[in-house]
Symmetry: D2
Subunit: 453 residues, 4 copies
Amino acid sequence: MANATALGDLLSTLLDRKLFPRRGGREGHLPDLCRKLLAETSEASGLQLAASILETYRQLPAEGRIAFYRFLNDDLDIDANEVARLASIYAEDPCPENFRNLSRASEPKRQDLFRRLNQAPGATAELVAMRADLLSQLAHAPELGRTDHDLVHLLRSWFNRGFLVLRQITWDTPASILERIIAYEAVHEIHTWDDLRRRLQPADRRCFAFFHPAMPDDPLIFVEVALTDGVPGSIQGVLSDNRTALPEEAVNTAVFYSISNCQAGLAGISFGNSLIKQVVRDLSRDLPGLKKFVTLSPIPGLSRWLAAEGLEAAQNDPTQLRRMAALYLLDAKKKDGRPLDPVARFHLANGATVHQIHSEADVSDKGIALSGGAMVNYLYDLSKIAQNSEAFGQKNEIAATTALRALARQAAKNRNAISGRPKVHRETDRPSPDVPDAGWDEEAAPPAAQDAS
Amino acid sequence: MANATALGDLLSTLLDRKLFPRRGGREGHLPDLCRKLLAETSEASGLQLAASILETYRQLPAEGRIAFYRFLNDDLDIDANEVARLASIYAEDPCPENFRNLSRASEPKRQDLFRRLNQAPGATAELVAMRADLLSQLAHAPELGRTDHDLVHLLRSWFNRGFLVLRQITWDTPASILERIIAYEAVHEIHTWDDLRRRLQPADRRCFAFFHPAMPDDPLIFVEVALTDGVPGSIQGVLSDNRTALPEEAVNTAVFYSISNCQAGLAGISFGNSLIKQVVRDLSRDLPGLKKFVTLSPIPGLSRWLAAEGLEAAQNDPTQLRRMAALYLLDAKKKDGRPLDPVARFHLANGATVHQIHSEADVSDKGIALSGGAMVNYLYDLSKIAQNSEAFGQKNEIAATTALRALARQAAKNRNAISGRPKVHRETDRPSPDVPDAGWDEEAAPPAAQDAS
Amino acid sequence: MANATALGDLLSTLLDRKLFPRRGGREGHLPDLCRKLLAETSEASGLQLAASILETYRQLPAEGRIAFYRFLNDDLDIDANEVARLASIYAEDPCPENFRNLSRASEPKRQDLFRRLNQAPGATAELVAMRADLLSQLAHAPELGRTDHDLVHLLRSWFNRGFLVLRQITWDTPASILERIIAYEAVHEIHTWDDLRRRLQPADRRCFAFFHPAMPDDPLIFVEVALTDGVPGSIQGVLSDNRTALPEEAVNTAVFYSISNCQAGLAGISFGNSLIKQVVRDLSRDLPGLKKFVTLSPIPGLSRWLAAEGLEAAQNDPTQLRRMAALYLLDAKKKDGRPLDPVARFHLANGATVHQIHSEADVSDKGIALSGGAMVNYLYDLSKIAQNSEAFGQKNEIAATTALRALARQAAKNRNAISGRPKVHRETDRPSPDVPDAGWDEEAAPPAAQDAS
Amino acid sequence: MANATALGDLLSTLLDRKLFPRRGGREGHLPDLCRKLLAETSEASGLQLAASILETYRQLPAEGRIAFYRFLNDDLDIDANEVARLASIYAEDPCPENFRNLSRASEPKRQDLFRRLNQAPGATAELVAMRADLLSQLAHAPELGRTDHDLVHLLRSWFNRGFLVLRQITWDTPASILERIIAYEAVHEIHTWDDLRRRLQPADRRCFAFFHPAMPDDPLIFVEVALTDGVPGSIQGVLSDNRTALPEEAVNTAVFYSISNCQAGLAGISFGNSLIKQVVRDLSRDLPGLKKFVTLSPIPGLSRWLAAEGLEAAQNDPTQLRRMAALYLLDAKKKDGRPLDPVARFHLANGATVHQIHSEADVSDKGIALSGGAMVNYLYDLSKIAQNSEAFGQKNEIAATTALRALARQAAKNRNAISGRPKVHRETDRPSPDVPDAGWDEEAAPPAAQDAS
């Protein structure tokens, strides 16, 4: 068995050398560079080494990257037996020395490596990109979940709310940031720069984003807001290209009509809740006339659920569609008792109330395909957010208006008339994380991200 | 025994309630608040709770703080038996699920608490201040070293080089920052604003500092630089208040004449090496005429060592003082084989060379008291830094000029003539961390900090 | 006759009241408001009054504006007899008191009015717009040239070079400024935001603009620069959308391929010379490898001149076209002895040398129409600029390379072969100001502007 | 006589050459350089020439400067006979051509010179300094008033309110600006940086300044504001160094306790009115609890007037002093009917009301010397400013409270009892411009400045 291991080591080393080609002899083998960095005591030399490693990594082909992840996952893991031993010692004598020994042993070396890599200029964005890449491998190599756990642990610490900066995005924002807004918008596509301008420049529009100081020109998440007179029931109305801006004195409602996460590599680290509440606070202060804060949100799982329930016919009748949407949002649940709809989960966890449902509210191809054109307003009532959030978190209780509950009851009565076949309550088995308005499909928020939430 | 424990718990709870008084009934007992924060799932509510905890902490009297640290240290520690159990399971089956379970169990809850506290506005500076306070307790309560280990672990991650920003400090810098420079200067005191101006405004003076984005108006470390023609041998000459600024074309040397760490709460997290090398790089780029980068550094342990060696008489003769200083820097060692002088350890670990020794170089009271007025230039020769640093790190080899080695040899010959009593090589038993020019006394860099270096 | 005048006054007053309708009774008749402003002693009330006047002016229909200009031109003119009287007094006794009296009398009240209007927020941009509008009236109402003279006198003083700020335009510049760059580009149209990005973002492209602090988001003039290896001979090559950026070490030439004036209201106030020289200075400092500074300029009058000379046939033969272009640039003159080509006049007055001519250099419809596709490089050789500029200014001497002079000589020999009809040297009678690469047609730089140059 | 003139010319030329020494042959004689600059057509060469002239001027000794001013005053004056001739022509035929000819002839060449000089970097500040120097010569050489008239005319145009920027001065302001605030404070001296900090850092203190974009680090005027609960009656109370800052909710009054003009070279160009009104507007918007805006102003002429009136005895009795101060402010007039007190003239012209008088309000040596320690509050009541300002401007009517008028009446009754000798109403013959709180003595605002106001 010792021999088998030795052979395995040899083969693995040879494979490694092929996938991590030496670059000009100067920089050496990637695992060697990493080990050298871990041993480096001079900050400045470490910084140079970190830059070399990231440069080498960037130029790796796909299979080289997987080999690198395996190196991180296996070679830079903890020694579990040593951890067990040190934990027993500490249990006997909890002195600081024993604690430090255990503490060091129980942190995989790859965490220290990530921290050292981060010293290089621009490294934070590269580590975020590395995680996006790693996430895309998890379906095929689930064992890499160990490395992902460590990386996301570190990223969550670095992207702590205390380090984020809220900035308003306007037509005066640098074009290099605006083109990212165009690219990242995931709910209602921004087709052109004129389209973007219509969402930023009018006096009754706002956009806010969180940034991290180490990635100052790349937003983490952003929300688009329309200031309106009353709660709107159509996204095409909100985004119309021949509207007149509403004067400030006529504004009484702020509509969050699009929230997009920007960084696939930060999946599972949630910024949306903080963003919405900060924006509610800032807008309240600046516009005393604002009385209501609502979303105009997609119902991404509605069509799929209607099909699963044999209720497709409801899509042909606006009234029935609104009723079935209410039923879906209030009654369709996952096995864990939480709502089936990922956007609903996001806003309800934040403490919002299901407020109003509109048919013919998103008549784009995408809107029709996902929800038969229906959309929903979630209401952020500051006086109820805390208790709603708690009731939902502890008892899965959904806050909804009386009218909306009535709609759902009517739907429950009518469903047999529509479907013809008996209800079979089945949870779809598709993975579905909690998300803001965008990113509710698997690509954008892969299964592994759920662990982190 | 169960009863005794129960009684102890009761007493401890009562004590806690006395030291953490409820503030208006609304915010509750500090440990309760912390437990509530650890359980909070809403980011926004967590943020408010974090702010309350920090506010409550700030108002605690000294004994209340110690009780709070004990709560962190004991109640929010790991369950070592559980860690041992999970480590054994993981050793058997290293699947991601088992890894995550072990990983969570082996991180003390106080780490999560610190991260959650950090979400509140301004929290980072408060956590740094909390560590400064905690450090001051370690001498009397060394068991708190466990909590210190966790806090410094997190701070080192947050104050990663990749997040630091180098800014030049000039006479155009906001006064609110400049007054901190005055307060933090720890090597050559800045007596007045005019004194400060003389170090910033002339064309042949520079000052650079590292900042963290979460503490944008509070420097972490700064270095003061004089641009000179040749290597200066007197700090009073450098700081003279009636000099004429040297024209840029006459400049060939950059002298780092003062480096000060600013944050006691970040003791053990080293920024000096990065700072010096970044400044060397920036100055080289901006001033192509620069040929030499040296320090003009104190020799803080010299007088004490001369006294211990019975060589006080050397202080009366400049030539002898220079020789003995050379001997001290090159030969006086700690038990671990590294130099006795903390400033020497700092610059030698960075890869500098002991370059030149000057007597009558700091004739201030402090300079006379510490080193009989002697100072030393450490040379930063970019072509030798890496190999010097490695030789020092691995073999405790000290880089020094030939002339300086000759001085030390002469000293070795002369010492009996001076002292009269036989040499007893003793290491002083005073703790002495590696430090840049300032902070070489125990107050500024307490013992616990050494663990972190 | 007195009666006729009185009647005229009456009619004129009635007409005035119709064209300057009272706004709500509060603000009154525009001339009255202006007179009130001229009499106002409180700065703050004056500021409010100024804002009202500009607001009223903005809402005037076209004919109302003309009436307003006539009011400025006639009612706020000087009293010439009084000026003559005071001048005679001053000639007798040049004491300060007499000087002040004459000085005040010889400045039309409208100048004081313009200065007072300028106190309102945003007024500077509005006065620039007012002049643009006024300029457009001059062809039909040349007597308004008096008011134009005063307004441009003031604008030239306010837009003094000492107040202008040079800013680089990059892809990080606010979109609100970039969209103006797109709109103002007058030489080689910017079709889309991607097109713009290709001129700003690559490492071998630059763009610089002058701004005035009172119009911080509206450029006055900008120049687009390509950094190249050698002098390029085709604008389509420079603007190609599938090039690879040149690495900095390969760059030896800076090509000014487009210079556009942005403000029609500042016609006759020249910024191009300062802009080019400032940019040459800044680029030289930042890119020591730069050896040559050239333009790639249109020859806007070439086709028209070829037609007038009966030399259209030259457009069919690249070689002939290059020769005729050389002849045109060196020999075709206005009555005042200066070159017929307005772009040539601009660069030659700046001290540039006619360097090289390229056929098939601008194959866009516009390029073909104006010059049969030919373009020219003007060379900015810093060591010759001053003497070139002086020789051109005093003796109309044109600096050109030997090769270019040879081309022109060949053209002179060949022209009869091409045209068939005898040369009739005629200056086109079209007005033609000196301009940088853009704005050489009458619309952009109306006749009145010439007075100001 | 022709010979005498020729001789004079010769002598004057020789004198000139002595006073304007050639600098290394390169730059030539200052008048020659100026004439060359006036003839220069290239902007860029002009810019260089302008820089040379200013450099040469800076190095002139005092007598050289006077010679330079004489050159500006005499050689670059208008040709009055030519102006008279062109004015007559224009009176006959007011065509634009004739207008332009007259317009050019009636502007002295020195104005064009000043504009051209201003193109050099930093020139604006140098021209402001030049005027300060010129003003200091006017007492001995009043004929230079012609040049001063032109220079102030231009500066007034350049320092137009529309170009000024209001910035708050805080403890975060660059030290280089703060040290100017310390130096420029002219009402209540700032003794140390701590003293300054007490006026900037507390939450109930504000400071605002106007800046010009061409002098971005040098304020033009600034005002210091205390936010208080009620109207304070003692400047020492306001500036006390052991106060507790008032919480925002307790603030109802903004006290302008010091207004200082900074630039002697801008004497006669008034910024104070605009500054106060802009600050009132901004504070009203930011602090809705503010109900009252008052000054706490010196009464600089009171002691002098009491002495002139034989009423010195009033200084020994607080009650009498308050009465006499009321009498002085309301009744003591200049020949032109305006108040004798220069600070009163400033605030009354702005539309303020004389509100309250306090004895023992400024017990500093200066306060006692100038006004026996009395101070006055002027009230800025936004609803009355316009009518007060108009009434004062047109009819010299002084707005005052009923109580204050009653005080003045009592004083009128009592004065004989105090003085013993009959009232002789005499205006002091000392020149006395209208000023804000500072600069009311002759040195700070010399006679010539009055012409400009």
